[in-house]
């Protein structure tokens, strides 16, 4: 199996971003730590997505899929025990910018087929998870909601929480 260097270089970018995030997980205040943990899961998902393409192994995408499914659960559990989810603009913008930036080129590279569907599902799950867990008390709109997803996480209740 030939590895594609370009994709692996791209995967190195979110991987390197994890280093400063680690600092915040370790040394930040309780709220910062929770946000950093959430961000780390998002960045790790990007690494997994890009490296699956880099290693030319579509089956590695299962990892990103499982992470996308489990990440919100983990964050919400901590939110429960550490008391509340702080709003996190950085997670939100990383998701809004990073998910399309990673998923769209991957879809183009994969061409139409099962792999593209999987990529889109992963992207939608990541986006939904990150947007909800990063919402905090800010109203949230979901730009490209996945088909079959319920209505975008409502701003009404979120606004009511202010």
């Amino acid at each position: 199996m030939r590895a594609s260097e370009g994709w692996l270089v791209a995967a190195a970018v979110p991987l390197l971003c994890l280093l400063p995030v680690l600092w915040y997980v370790v040394r930040g205040e309780p709220r910062t730590r929770l946000v950093a943990q959430n961000l780390a899961q998002l960045l790790a998902a990007f690494v997994l997505l890009l490296s699956a393409q880099g290693f030319n192994r579509p089956t590695y995408l299962d990892l990103a899929l499982v992470l996308a499914v489990l990440a919100p659960a983990g964050t919400l559990v901590y939110a429960r025990f550490l008391g509340g989810l702080p709003p996190a603009r950085i997670v939100r913008w990383t998701a809004l910018a990073g998910v399309p930036a990673a998923v769209v080129p991957l879809c183009v590279a994969a061409g139409p087929g099962r792999q593209t569907v999987k990529l889109l599902v992963i992207g939608a799950l990541l986006l939904a998870g990150a947007l909800v867990t990063s919402a905090g008390s800010q109203p949230v709109t979901e730009p490209d909601a996945p088909s079959g997803a319920p209505e975008p996480p409502g701003g009404d209740e979120a606004a009511a929480r202010d």
């Binding site: 199996m1 590895a3 290693f55 192994r57 579509p58 089956t59």
Partner: protein, 114 residues
């Protein structure tokens, strides 16, 4: 690069043991134990790696692909699941310990015993 993964595994092992020895909270000690366990995963997988190899999963690879060692991967898989159950059992014991003695400091606990 030829030695780095092994050295990292050794470092994780020793730092985990350091945490276990100096721990003043049993829950923290269990966390350190799971760190120590992760050194075995790193070591096993490092031994099984092959330059330019790919995963021994032939769903999307030709059967003559250059693959890494599946045996150590299977061992590590087992290792991880057993590690999680050990953690669970130890944490259950810790809950009991705290119910009985009201403390989680290993030093205080050993004083209680004596």
């Amino acid at each position: 690069m030829t030695l780095l993964p092994y050295l990292v595994a050794g470092w994780i092992f020793l730092i985990g043991l350091y945490g276990l020895v100096t721990s003043r909270n049993m829950i923290h000690a269990v966390g350190c134990l799971s760190v120590t366990q992760s050194s075995t995963y790193v070591l096993l997988l490092a031994i099984g790696y092959r330059d330019g190899g790919t995963a021994p999963v032939y769903a999307d690879a030709p059967t003559d692909a250059r693959v890494v060692d599946p045996v150590v991967q299977a061992l590590t898989l087992t290792d991880i699941v057993v590690g999680a159950t050990v953690t669970a059992l130890l944490l259950a014991l810790i809950i009991q310990l705290h119910k009985r003695h009201g403390t989680l400091d290993p030093d205080e606990l050993s004083e209680l015993k004596g």
